[in-house]
Amino acid sequence: MSTNRRRMRVASVVAGIGIVAVLAAGCARGGGSPNSTEDGGAAEASPGITDDSITLGITTPLSGPTAGPGTCTVAGITAYFGAKNADGGVEFGDGKTRTVEIEALDDEYDPQKAKANYDQLKSSVFAMTAGLGTPTNRAWREAAIADEVPQALIMTGDPIFSDAEESPWQLGFVPIYQNEGQAFGELLAGSGEEHTVAILSQNDDYGEGYVEGFKAGIEGADNIEIVKELTYEATDTSVDAQLTELAGSGADVFFNAMSITPLVISSLQKTQELGWLPSWFLPSNTSSPTAILEPGGAAAFPGVYTVAFAQSAAAPTFAESEDGAAFLAGLKEYANYPDPPAFPHCVWSYQVGATLEQVFAKMTEPTRADFMEQLRTISGYTAPLMLEGSTVDTTVDGQPAVSTVQVQKYNGKGYAPAESWDQ
């Protein structure tokens, strides 16, 4: 071994440690140095909050295959608080007005990186929020519990995050997948007609959740028969083979629990090509009328049903509404998102911001504990861009912030509430 090599070895170890030390600068032992509050009587402030600002952390995919919805989860909340900050900030329950800073990091949908991002942020942000993904949120769920860091209003329909017993420092925002599937199943079972159902679902907790909910919804209804059930991988380029196989079943209802926008569009087209024209069910995140149904030619089907709680940003009437215009303007101005998003996650994330504002208004102490306490007291709140009938309700254990969902039917342009099955 050459001596120079050894010298280099030492040098590189030192250099490596140096880099780490620089990166870690500012992170102190024991979860960050607490900010001392001026009025000694109140509880000590948690990290990430001062008298005039509060910092929220997000770890979410900002690159890679899930970056589409991922970037939206940051854009929406950034747009919301961007506008609020421009007006001076958000009023808190302790009488102070604070600006809300968002610190978002890219986790590439890799659980390991999500955990690293959490480790990096936990001592400098007040709470973690809005991040997308089941595995990426699960990766640091237990760490967040141990560290007592809020993991609030995150974008996953995984029920574990809404179970206060198991997840005391967590709360999901979007309806758990089961709810959405179940709502549709109940509607279908209530039709009183005989139906055969073909199911295609994403091979992960997302697809499984929808199917599980759907099956719960039709339980005991003997007018519904599931004739074929297939899965696809989120990484698939095409699901033509599945559709061909499902079309062979001749089902009159197609329950498609699919979260990949391009695949939904090509599924709509392919089914028509095959001459199979069932009624469709689509999940809330892939049922945008202009981004998906129109290019897919969904008008050809007897009915396309979806479950939703928020308006679709791509709908033509959206930009005309006051909230919609404010939303789009905020995206453009504060979130560097110039055109209407094809993903509903932007609207959801915007609503997360609005919901957080409600929580902040109730917080009398600048602590994470008080935040979590107040987080679970919001009920009957209609966030901007919510559909009529849907509200934010965080008081029901076992349910995420939004659990009331509306089954809707596509009318060729947009959606209308579907109270009952009609065909």
């Binding site: 001596t3 280099m8 490596g16 992170c27 237990e142 992960d204 997302y206």
Partner: protein, 368 residues
Amino acid sequence: MPSTAEFWSRPWVRWAGIGLIVVLMIVGPLILPEFANQTIARIGVFAVAVLGLNVVMGYTGQVSLGQIFFVGVGAYATAYGVNAGWNIVLVFVLACVVPAVLGLLVALAAARLGGLAIAMVTIALPIVGVPLAKRLSDFTGGSQGTSARFSDAPEWTGLYDDQWQLYLVFLIGGITFLLTRNLVRGKYGRAFAIVKGNEAVAASMGVSPYRYKVLAFTIASLIGGVSGFLYMVVIQYTSPETLHFGHSIELLASMVIGGAGSIIGSLLGGAWYVLLPQITNLIDPNITAMLQGAILLVVLFILPGGLVSLPRLWRRRGRGSVAGPGGGPVGGAMQADAAASVPGSSTVGDALGAPQTQSPPPPPTTQS
């Protein structure tokens, strides 16, 4: 310069250097901030993974795009064992043996192939592994993944969790590095190098390429399993996303950037794997992909031999370089197979005319 070189070659300096590193490893975790400890621990996890990859690729010249699969299997085995309440030593042994056995089985078949084919067969492991992990949900927890928090610091130590975890990584990772270092510098390492150089020559020297390819692959899988165990020590959660084949490609890139066929290169590769996303997040989280690509290209443009060649680049100032680019495994296989049949194989550089500017060829990196 000679005087400094002499200085470093003295035994007491060597021992003092080693001693200093050991002291740093003992004291460091106690004084560094929590996030630094966690980051170093993560670097350790992926340095071990890159080290495994180096055994099969850097030293033996067989392209493996499946390393993350073995890391994942190791992590799953750890999670399963811990959650079933087995003794932790037994769990560790399983986390090494299960991937090693799988690696052996795969290698018995794959080592018959060469070049690109072996790359395609190994990339299949993580690609098929993801849906397989979802299907075997009784063992793996399905797509929701599985956690195992077994690495919290025991009461008696009085340590924080991150300190305890970092010590575990130093201990297990350190032993793995030392054993691997001895392996690649010994008889087996020489055999690997011969197989890498030319399989036909190896066969004529009585070194069975097939046997050594299988051996290298199995060892790489075993080291991958160690990395998987450490993954659970540090991250404490695994899911099918853990073994996404994209991470395998990132590991390969990290190995080349660190320095192929080099022990220190493996360490630098692990640091690259962990720190690059963190650094790009620090610059601008919205353009991480573009930044990561750009940084990778710039680093390789300046240091085609990887980070490990940085000091060599310095030393080369004032000294002429001797031409002779070596054919490494991936590209060696991926480039037209002409070179193998032509003894004095030519390079593009020859054909483009006499090099006017001096661009050093990547240094041969068969030993570190």
